[in-house]
Amino acid sequence: MIPKIFNKYLKNRRTTLLAVGPMSKNCVEATIEIANEKKVPIMMIASRRQIDSKEMGGGYVNNWDTKSFSNYVKKRDKNKLITLCRDHGGPWQNSLEIEKKLNSIKAINSAKRSYMEDIDSDFKIIHIDTCLSLNGTEKSKKKTLDRLFELYKFCSDYAKKKNKNIFFEIGTEEQSGTTNTQKELEETLHKIVNFCKKNKLKKPTFVVIQSGTKVMEMRNVGTFEVPFRVENEIPAEIQIPKMIEICKKYNVLMKAHNTDYLSNEALSCYPRLGINAANIAPEFGVIESRKILEIMEALKLKSLKDSFVKLSLDSNKWKKWMIKGSKANDYEKAIISGHYIFSEKKFSNIKEDLTKILKKNNQSLDKILKKEIKKSILRYLYNFNLIK
């Protein structure tokens, strides 16, 4: 049960499919361009905070809503190599649903409307993540699974009605009680596979499991590359092969989230280990922000640089990424949260000034930024055995 476009990569050779978070307009364009240049399929995974339906307020990326984002991608993706995917769809995954303190019925209905827009806009892979409640993580495993089944059936029925062929991703890397331990994964897959059988629905294509990755600040602090024990955690050396074994048993592909910043050596093991797909997102936003600041520094544009740093810092979006007791300075914090403010008017003015300055030297800011993002995407394509 996989989209045809991935057949060649998953059936005949060991690869890890790449899923890129649409962190910015440049990131989206860079992804489309590289997919078409290299003739390789890439998934584009939009979270609801990044891009959501108009009704939900769109999202922080380029003032797009689901439909306009989809249209933008489809228009540029000449060889149809981009697979649009919803990442972490589900109730309370959009900040508005939390701000409005929606109860569970309203939040689920809101999530349903968001999914309808996704399906109407040709999103192909729908991630149903029901790990949240209004107050953070949902503690009741039963509620988490009931909501998953409800949304799974709803999306399947809606897609059928609209004659759309969609695929599903379930699970989460967060502590949710559903896919974090071997026992939980086994139980969840058993239940969902039975549910699908009973309701004559497609089995999920991907399941997200905790695979020893976690992004904080500008590095991966998970156990995947940590050489020694973490108290009370099963070593990644045992956990990952075991989880993949369970996925194989149920014929569901394993998808890793938070793969950003891993070393080439670690990434090149993904296909070998049997990790079928991997999400990378904030790293691309960080790359763009860092490059902008580097250019400003190189051109000694102190005032512009200070404005960008201040705007980014004031957004407070860096806070959720910080390690406890972090020693990161303001410049680093500004890099971490830079992409959250790319759509703001004040940033557009800063960017416009910088663009004009570079233009005098016959340089294009967006081209420079896209080149930088592409370089990073290439690192993943190469290590995941998707290109030679």
Binding site: I238, E265, C269
Partner: protein, 273 residues
Amino acid sequence: MKPIATLILNRNLPKVTDKLYRTIKKNEGNITDIFVIEAGSSKNNLSKYATWHANSESVKKKGLRFPRGMNYGLYNLWKENLFDKYKAFFLITNDTVIQNKNTLKTLYSILLKNKKIGILSPCSKKWGENKLLKKNSIKFTWYIHNHAYLLNKDLLLKIINPTSGYMNFLYDGSNFRGYGLESELIAKAYANNFAAAITNKVYLEENEDYLLNHNDLIKTESYSRNLKLSYVEGLKWMKRKYGFNNKWLLQNYVKLFYDNFFVNYPEYKKYKI
């Protein structure tokens, strides 16, 4: 005849070592002889029960660390014709905390019942692996990271190198701090039709306080520096020896032997982790 030789590795912590020695002697002295390896300890920091003292200038300066230290002890047993006296070897560092009075008895009884176990490691209560074990059980695994092992002599006889001094007697002594050597040992076990097992029938803990807060007394690097060096050296070692560029390739290598073991011995599948 006592079936087990216990080897305790000490460096400049005589009181800690003496206490551990006395605990084992008192509780299980009937089934084990105890040997203390002094890894370059200074003269005034020797355990009362020191058996051998590695005291070359280089060892005094840097110590032996677990792999070379255990090589040193095992090699001396070999040289002194004591190796064959024992059925199993219990390798521990001096910061090991033994709470159960029947620790060795329990571990050895597992070896006796499961002749295929070449390496047996008691769990720590802090290990995530406990989630994989039912109460009082054993599982065969492809990955163990520990400071305490009971090794089956039958396995050792297949893999030791007694001809070239202590350096590579059991572990590859060229990897000083030893990151990756446990995995290599486990691969060798499975390659020789033995298994590596973990158990929670007894627990052993490591009192890391000594390494974390008293590295000056031990005369070694700080805990965090030691971890970093260990990883860096280990990666260099696996590249040099196997051409592996990261830990996952070594894990893959070990797991191939592990999976193959159950093809050859399907009757042990119940012990698969």
